[in-house]
């Protein structure tokens, strides 16, 4: 994690997810109306996860503490800033998911559930104004996509690091030897 260029990762993920300054402003501006509904999003999110057998096993005995963290993160989606610190925090979440051996699809699946919930709420708080709803849903999709990209980046790096540790432990090779081997083949 020490070698990660968070500025570069943030810029890339924002460009890829379409998280423009305009969308960032819209998210913050809609915060007052959306924030009171976020507890409902978190509750529905965990209710759905608990109803899926493969996700439920990862939540046993931890739901309340996870809900608190989740709500805090959801709130940050509508307060910003979507800066390097936020990027680093999302990166740490990806790492944490590898440490607790959460399957990779949980992040994308989870984001999908949250996206559905927030899209519904975006429609409700926009008072039937289609343009307003579309703009807010687009901004929500962008910030969730941005967050997911950063988490997946760290998930992949952490998974590879774990695989390498396992390989080195099995073969008895030192990390220095592995690096020299990789250097020799310019990998």
């Amino acid at each position: 994690m020490d070698n990660v260029d968070f500025d570069e990762l943030m810029d890339h993920a924002k460009r890829f997810s379409g998280l423009t300054p305009e969308r960032e402003s819209l998210l913050v501006a809609s915060g007052d109306t959306v924030r009171p509904r976020l507890q409902e999003v978190t509750d529905n999110f965990y209710a759905m996860l608990l109803s899926i057998p493969k996700t439920a096993v990862h939540l046993e005995g931890r739901v309340e503490s996870l809900k608190a963290t989740h709500l805090q993160w959801l709130t940050s989606l509508f307060t910003g800033p979507y800066d390097v610190e936020y990027t680093a925090a999302m990166y740490a979440v990806g790492d944490a998911h590898v440490r607790v051996k959460l399957p990779v699809e949980f992040m994308a699946g989870g984001m999908c559930l949250i996206q559905n919930e927030l899209a519904r709420i975006a429609g409700e708080v926009s008072g039937g104004d289609v343009d307003k709803t579309v703009s807010l849903v687009s901004a929500i999709n962008s910030v969730l996509g941005f967050s997911l990209m950063v988490m997946q980046e760290s998930y992949q790096s952490s998974s590879l690091a774990e695989e390498l540790d396992r390989f080195l432990a099995i073969t008895g090779m030192s990390r220095v030897l592995f690096n020299n081997l990789a250097d020799a083949y310019q990998i």
Binding site: T171, G172, S174, V176, N180, D183, A184
Partner: protein, 120 residues
């Protein structure tokens, strides 16, 4: 100085048998310490691959209850690769012809490995 001594040992080893085509001393981290190799071989690759093979050989001998590793021997259509520890921090790697009389080579390589471990 040390490099010269190692090269001299390798030169003697290569001269001890017409069956020996090349030899090198590698650190257990895979870095080349001294080499008398044909021009077509990449020293970095020979070094890293040799050390990796010996490391894997160590682990295999241990896992399969064969005791401490003495050597790793690979045979291909074009000859042999023989690797053995030369002290705790180095690996002696030798390339030999396919028709090589291995018994004699094992003896020469063992002597050379002992000499290298004294230099190191």
């Amino acid at each position: 100085m040390r490099s010269d001594l190692l090269t001299s040992i390798l030169s003697d080893l290569n001269g001890s048998s017409a069956d020996i085509e090349a030899s090198s001393v590698i650190s257990t981290d895979g870095l080349m310490m001294a080499a008398m190799l044909p021009s077509g071989l990449d020293e970095d690759r020979v070094g890293a691959m040799g050390a990796a093979m010996l490391s894997l050989g160590d682990r295999t001998a241990q896992e399969l209850a064969r005791g401490s590793l003495e050597q790793v021997l690979i045979k291909g259509d074009n000859g042999y690769v023989l690797m053995t520890h030369a002290g705790k921090e180095a690996v002696l790697s030798v390339l030999a012809k396919p028709s090589a009389r291995l018994g004699l080579i094992f003896l020469d390589v063992k002597r050379a490995a002992e000499a290298i471990s004294k230099v190191l």
